[in-house]
């Protein structure tokens, strides 16, 4: 325990803050005395610790049902052990290949299209000269983030309906000769997911980059101008390096989250007709667990996912540390 308040001069004064009492004598008083002195602070901290034990750590203990045959009538401790049976069952499931394909397909598309776009948007928004115009665009670009996925699902259903605006336009242009039911066709599902995700989060994801860009000193730009740099060169040589570490950290998080689908989004837009393209691992866990009540099996699949995500996080972190000295931990 280090204490920063025992600076020069203050040692002569009576300590003002009770839990700093030990610095007054230069020796540490017994632990119980120090705990008693900061009983209010300890109470505050323990409120959080107790909450975390109940709502975070008890569910972690609950993960052991992946190795058991849990059912409603017995408690978690009483349920019989079955070893790796649920894991084996998952790897034998015919749906496995499809689930992996959909999960990774959607996530990688989001990573390679959805991740860079906010950076590009921030770079170009930064070049807008009028401050008021820039602020207005920013405010407008945040708007979709505040819509719920349910509402956005309703908007998409309206747009993509047989008599919706998309079909009307394509019919009017003679590009199609009968309406397409986009949400009922698996082949359109990924496109709908990626596009709606970008539409909703483009402006919001750009906030962090814009804030980082705002920290670049104007002199850097002036110096670049004197050196004869054009707008694109300034973006490339001044702005981009300034936000490189922000990009790295967000990229680490994005890579480690590659098994996470946006479940709110998937659940709203999926249906039995597009299931072959929409069954991602999060939905599989939800369906087997909540809808079919196969608690142990669903938890086993969830555990596999969580462990892989953790490994990905560590790898992405190490790679980022090596390449550009930025890391999460």
């Amino acid at each position: 325990m280090e204490n920063k308040t025992s600076g020069n001069g203050s040692s002569a004064m009576k300590p003002l803050i009770p839990e700093l009492i030990e610095t007054g004598t230069g020796r540490k008083s017994p632990l119980w005395k120090r705990l008693l002195a900061q009983r209010h602070l300890q109470t505050m901290a323990l409120l959080g610790v107790v909450w975390m034990i109940i709502f975070n750590y008890i569910p972690m203990y609950g993960l052991i049902i992946s190795f058991k045959e849990y059912n409603i009538v017995k408690s978690i401790a009483e349920a019989p052990w079955v070893g790796l049976e649920h894991f084996r069952e998952f790897f034998d499931d015919d749906e496995l290949a499809n689930v992996i394909r959909n999960t990774l397909g959607i996530s990688l598309l989001k990573l390679f299209i959805g991740f860079p776009l906010p950076i590009v948007f921030a770079l170009f928004l930064n070049e807008v000269r009028s401050l008021r115009f820039k602020k207005s665009i920013q405010t407008i670009s945040y708007l979709p983030h505040f819509l719920s996925w349910v509402v956005l699902g309703g908007i998409l259903a309206t747009w993509l309906a047989d008599v919706g605006i998309i079909n009307n336009i394509l019919l009017a242009l003679n590009l199609i000769d009968k309406p397409i039911s986009y949400l009922a066709e698996p082949s359109y599902f990924w496109t709908i997911i990626i596009t709606s995700d970008i539409w909703k989060e483009l402006g919001w994801s750009a906030i962090i980059y814009l804030a980082a860009i705002a920290g670049v000193s104007p002199e850097m730009y002036e110096a670049a101008t004197i050196d004869g740099a054009g707008r694109f060169q300034k973006m490339w040589y001044v702005t981009l390096p300034a936000i490189k570490s922000t990009i790295s950290i967000l990229f680490i998080l994005a890579v480690s989250g590659v098994l996470n689908s946006n479940f709110d989004q998937i659940l709203v837009l999926r249906n039995s007709l597009n299931d072959s393209a929409s069954n991602v691992i999060d939905y599989y866990i939800y369906y087997t667990g909540i809808v079919s009540s196969r608690f142990s099996y669903s938890t086993a699949v969830n555990l596999i996912k969580a462990v892989i995500a953790l490994i990905l996080l560590v790898i992405a972190n190490q790679v980022s540390k090596k390449i550009n000295d930025t890391s999460l931990f």
Partner: protein, 296 residues
């Protein structure tokens, strides 16, 4: 001589193109929402013919009247308002309290507490173990399931903690001389000077509470306890078009509304409050996002 201010032709072209691109982005962002708005303000039967793109063809407020006269929709709105107001108050006060304790560097065991919390950001029990826990705590079909399992977030705690550590120590020391304890310092001194971060966390959690529909799906069977988003989800995702008409049956305006037009009006009503609030909190949440991204 070379001057800094003069624009070259290339620069001027760049500015024009760039501004046009930005205007396009604004249009793409706003138009889908506008489309819903003008259709919601149009007579329901007339809207079925389509072709309403820019302005209502037959302006009508009957869709909104139907929404406000439906007891089911109004009850669900009430649940949403209640869970948002109570949820935000509890989440902010509880998380800030723990964060204040952890922000003090002399807290005995502080490192251990922070380690315990950090683990929860990267690993959790997942869907089923959490579901079983809430079931064992008798939170199924219980309003408190919207509040207690989300009243704390270690991620938000870090944002609070970072902010609290920047508060000048002199402020707190003056209160110590007056004999205040940690609780009164937190509530009378620390929180009042931390309004930017309180606003940020309140907005984040408020948006979550307002927009979440999943808790209502897995924990709530009683239709009287479902929030408006869950209500809408059941109508949108399950496309049971009759449900909306059943909801407004008995009201005086059923002749000119359709299930689709009521759905649009409900979407507008659920979304408007949040759309009006966020621009005023903008300057706060930008800073909150920054702290979160650096420390998270």
């Amino acid at each position: 001589m070379f001057t800094l201010k003069r624009k070259t032709t290339g620069e001027a072209v760049f500015d024009i193109v760039n501004n046009l691109i930005m205007l396009c982005i604004c249009f793409i962002t706003l138009y889908p929402i506008w489309y819903v708005l003008v259709n919601a303000f149009n007579d329901g039967n007339d809207a079925m013919m389509g072709g309403i793109y820019w302005w209502p063809r037959e302006f009508s407020l009957e869709n909104f009247e139907a929404v406000f006269q439906s007891p089911g929709i109004m009850l669900a709105m009430g649940i949403t308002v209640a869970k948002t107001v109570i949820g935000v108050a509890v989440h902010v006060l509880f998380t800030a309290t723990v964060a204040y304790a952890l922000s003090r560097r002399n807290l005995i065991g502080g490192k251990l507490y922070i380690l315990l919390g950090t683990i929860t950001m990267f690993f959790n029990g997942g869907l089923i173990p959490t579901f079983l826990l809430n079931r064992d705590l008798h939170l199924l079909d219980n309003f408190l399931v919207y509040i207690i399992p989300v009243m704390f977030s270690f991620f938000d705690l870090i944002i609070f903690m970072t902010f609290f550590r920047e508060i000048p120590e002199g402020l707190e020391e003056a209160a110590w001389i007056d004999g205040a304890n940690d609780w009164s310092i937190l509530f009378r001194i620390v929180l009042p000077v931390s309004m930017p971060v309180v606003a940020t966390i309140a907005l984040f959690h408020g948006v979550y509470q307002w927009n979440d529909y999943f808790a209502g799906i897995i924990y709530i069977n009683n239709p009287d306890l479902q929030p408006i988003q869950t209500y809408l989800f059941r109508v949108v995702a399950q496309s049971s078009s009759n449900q909306m008409m059943v909801a407004v049956q008995g009201s005086s305006v059923t002749k000119s509304v359709t299930s689709q037009s009521i759905k649009l009006a409900t979407m507008v009503v659920t979304t408007l409050p949040i759309v009006f609030v966020y621009p005023f909190l903008q300057r706060y949440f930008v800073k909150g996002m920054m702290i979160g991204s650096i420390k998270g």
